[in-house]
Assembly symmetry: C2
Homo-oligomer: 234 residues x 2
DNA sequence: TTCGTTATTTATCATTTGATAATTAATTAT
DNA sequence: ATAATTAATTATCAAATGATAAATAACGAA
């Protein structure tokens, strides 16, 4: 029986009630700044960007005006949170993984999504991504453009090659095909939404789930990919 | 070439700048209430539940205190929005669709997700679902429990039958199997997240996309479903 | 037309909230 | 030890926000 994992709220390490810095003042500025940013990430992930600066300060065990010594405004702190979250968690090596035809496609995809999960199946990441998406922040679009260009389109390319379909130079790439690859990505990412946004339990052995997802996708895609190309040209 | 659909923000009917009720006062109370609720749905879907009552009132073309004649508090209005959104959009007929073995499983699934899409691929629904999920509202959990019990578990049951696997009475249902069905649901629902939360374009011909999703899933699931049951007992 | 009812608005309150200024005190340099 | 520096706190401000009370005016009944 496959176990499930509960309590998505548990962020490893930081306890929730942690104004334990009772009398410890005068921290090294760069340390303090880092502490504020990290705290803000967790805080906004939990409460959304409408979370109050006073509550954030309380959580950090500092006073609210101190935030304004390090950031000129709440908005600038939020901006910093975006930077930290988005830029830190993309590994360019992933991009070279997909087109590596020395290995079977199923292996490549499984490997990619397992590693990607390690970076992204995370309370703060998922929730900040959703909150900023709903807010319509542009950095969100840019991130998704990378997903599309560096992962999904290459996946389609490899899928064609694997299934003996004509390359994109001969039969142009089309949106229906892109949706196919978004399907795999949706299987993958919606699990994170379920767990970290909705608070539902998720299977404990993520790796096995990913293996299944990829097998389902690659096997199933073979059955439909071809027909998309036929209908595609004119 | 498959077209794509842009501007997820467009909610059919109501224009965004609409305080056009310039001098028309004294509306029938039940009408007014309905108008407020509908306006609140669109408003909170757009701005989240932290949206300000004054902005909502402005959008409705009424004054802010009038809201409080119809709802004792902002929270009670939000509660009403939940009711309206969640209760109104579940069709019990869908539940009987899945187990109908007179039709091929692919047909049943395609039909269900097409009809479900008509109810749920919708700006306000998707966003309020996400906002309330992030907020941790219990009605969200209850809705997802219905999805699981009435759709996903039945899907697994039918999938077993279709692939000649032992019924649940013989080999018990397990979480890995459930994750399989969540995979299909994720393909489906993540498209809505992409479009309505992230603002990305989505293929115009939703029906065709759903057909592809279901074919990919059913074909691919056949390749992995069996192995889950073997490992499952003990 | 006049009057009574009540839907709606205007005026206002008490908190909350992002932000600033003045004050205090921890740490380092002399 | 003493003074200088500046991290951090305390004390506030002004605007925003949920909510209430009093005043107004639209509509139906007489």
């Amino acid at each position: 029986m496959v176990e499930t994992m509960d309590d998505p709220l548990s962020r490893a390490g930081q306890s929730k009630t942690k104004p334990l810095a009772d009398k410890r003042r005068r921290m090294n500025p760069s340390e303090r700044e880092a502490q504020i940013v990290e705290g803000a990430i967790g805080f906004f992930a939990e409460h959304g960007f409408e979370g109050k600066t006073r509550d954030l300060a309380k959580r950090l065990g500092i006073t609210q005006p101190l935030l304004y010594r390090y950031f000129p405004s709440k908005e600038s702190l939020i901006e910093r949170v975006y930077q930290e979250i988005y830029l830190q968690r993309w590994n360019p090596e992933w991009e070279s993984l997909i087109p590596d035809r020395d290995r079977p496609l199923v292996d490549r995809l499984t490997r990619f999504y397992k590693e990607y999960a390690r970076a992204v199946y995370d309370f703060v990441w998922v929730r900040i991504f959703l909150y900023s998406g709903l807010k319509g922040v542009d950095i969100n679009d840019r991130y998704l453009a990378i997903i599309k260009d560096k992962i999904l389109v290459p996946v389609c390319r490899e899928l064609r090659h694997d299934n003996g379909l004509p390359p994109m130079e001969d039969v142009p790439f089309n949106n229906e095909e892109l949706e196919l690859a978004w399907g795999l990505h949706g299987m993958f990412f919606y699990r994170a939404v379920r767990h970290f946004a909705y608070g539902l339990p998720i299977a404990k052995d993520i790796d096995r789930v990913i293996e299944n997802d990829v097998r389902v996708f690659v096997t199933g895609a073979r059955a439909v990919h071809g027909s998309m190309l036929e209908r595609a040209d004119r």
